[in-house]
């Protein structure tokens, strides 16, 4: 694609589509397969954003090297949270959703009040974009494309493996699954770690794409709301559903922004979510 020399717009737009495919699909690996709906995907995405922003923006680490670090930080956060939360038997369903939402705001407050951000935000405009394609937007397109393909493949592989079957069993009846010998704690933790790591990489790329990150812009309600919507719409039990949902919703959001009605876009996303929840069996 980048070598066709199309206008930069197409590359940037497709970058966004791939970006949301990664976020929705990675969310689905834990939340869709096992039914543990996380409202905290923004926290792990944000952990990736800030890892890259701090390493590349403040310590001049080459950008591509920050991406594994972003994955690692996000995964460790997820594993740490999961190691505590998944041990507590009654934190399921709506309580897990609330807890992950609260974790997002705790992380946001810490980032805002410590030298990680400190308040004014972090600039990445001086960080060079890796030369993966003739243009900068082409490079973002390439990175997101590779990540999206990788994420969807991981989601597919998990859904076909023992891990996926175990997660589906947890979704249907966790207590029964446990009795049948599914190591529920370990499966949930592994799925959470993979899900967070992928969101972290997406966050790292996004940090350079927007090139100026703020705590309020990163840790808001948009990421969890949008990924839940995309996955629910596409189908949470399939590996490919979230990717389809992500594509449709990104185009819908883009269409409303293009005609200068971003607020209507937000309302439309909300309305689609309400309709999807009420009308889906």
């Amino acid at each position: 694609m980048p070598f066709l020399h199309l206008p930069a717009f197409y590359e940037s737009f497709l970058y966004l589509v791939f970006h949301w495919i990664v976020l929705a699909t990675s969310w689905n690996i834990l939340s869709g397969y096992s039914g543990y709906f996380s409202f905290g995907h923004g926290a792990f995405f944000g952990a990736g954003v800030y890892t890259t922003a701090v390493l590349a923006g403040k310590y001049d680490v080459p950008f591509l090297w920050t991406l594994p670090a972003a994955a690692l930080v996000a995964a460790l956060l997820g594993l740490g949270l999961g190691a505590v939360v998944f041990r507590v038997r009654h934190v399921r369903g709506e309580l897990f959703a609330l807890l992950t939402l609260a974790a997002t705001f705790v992380l946001a407050t810490i980032v805002l009040n410590t030298p990680i951000d400190g308040g004014p935000g972090v600039y990445l405009s001086a960080v060079p974009v890796p030369k993966l394609a003739p243009t900068a937007s082409g490079a973002f397109y390439m990175m997101a494309l590779v990540l999206a393909i990788g994420t969807v493949f991981i989601a597919y592989a998990i859904s076909r493996a023992r891990l996926g079957l175990g997660l589906f069993a947890i979704h249907d009846d966790e207590d029964a699954a446990e009795v049948m010998g599914v190591p529920t704690y370990r499966y949930k933790l592994v799925a959470f770690g993979v899900s967070c790591a992928l969101a972290g990489i997406a966050g790292g790329i996004q940090a350079l794409f927007v090139s100026y990150v703020t705590a309020s812009g990163t840790f808001n309600i948009t990421v969890p709301l949008t990924v839940i919507l995309m996955s629910v719409l596409g189908g949470t039990r399939s590996w490919g559903g979230p990717a389809i949902g992500a594509t449709v919703i990104t185009i819908l959001l883009y269409a409303t922004t293009a005609v200068d009605q971003p607020v209507a876009g937000k309302a439309a996303v909300g309305a689609v979510l309400v309709a999807a929840i009420l009308l889906m069996p």
């Binding site: 507590v88 705001f105 937000k266």
Partner: protein, 285 residues
Amino acid sequence: MTFPSATLLAQSALSGVFIGSMYGLLGMGLGLAWGLLHIINLAHFGFAFLAAYLCYQLASVGGIDPLLTLALIVPLFFALGVAVQWLLSRFAVSPLNSLLATFGLTAIIEAGIQYFWTADFRKLESVYSGQKLRMGGLFVPIPELLTLVLALLLGFGIWAAMRYTNLGRALRALAEDAPMAAAFGVNRRAHALLLAGVCGALAGIAGVCLALSFTLTPSQIYAWVGVVFAAVMLGGLGSPLGPLAAGMVVGVSEAVTMAFASPSWAPIVSFSLLIALLLLRPGRA
């Protein structure tokens, strides 16, 4: 870190009580719907802000006394509460799905507010704003005092109604064992709709209090979610006075944190408390 003076601490504790009554007022409707109807209504916050903006509009453009706007806002939000409950019960949603659906509804309300009133900060200037009582060395702002009085009146009023009237008894019976209560002739649908209406009206009243005391902006809707949920879970679901008492505990602890550290650290108190509660209090929900 310097140790704050006694007056500052007392003033902090007092403002903690006031903000805590706001938490309690918001939590009352949320907790009643959660405990008795098994609906986790995130749109409760959206409704409160919608009411706050309506109050702002009526009071600052229409020139009506903000407290008189209650006459319009209470019935309107009662109807809204009934409508949402009707929709949710029509599709028999689970608690998790009620959370998701009202999440979507909140996004719609936020977008609507942003469309009509823009994302600019709005502050209601009324006869009440800026008025203060002076008691000893402490200042007592009138709008906050109004919130406290309203919260106490409503809290005790609903508590008494739940405890001593047949209607309240029927509601508690439904929450405990719905099929049994229905067998004794309690009309489940009608009672659920009524209670949802009351919760909606409570959101409306909380909204008027928000407009009196706080600067409004659409994204502020989510700023209240964590702390109010913490108050509700700490105070107990389905109880009107629990969230009020818990809200004050949270409010005071936040205000004292702010006296010692930077105000931007305050959210960490409530959200950490919420996480700890979710992990440590089995059987609360």
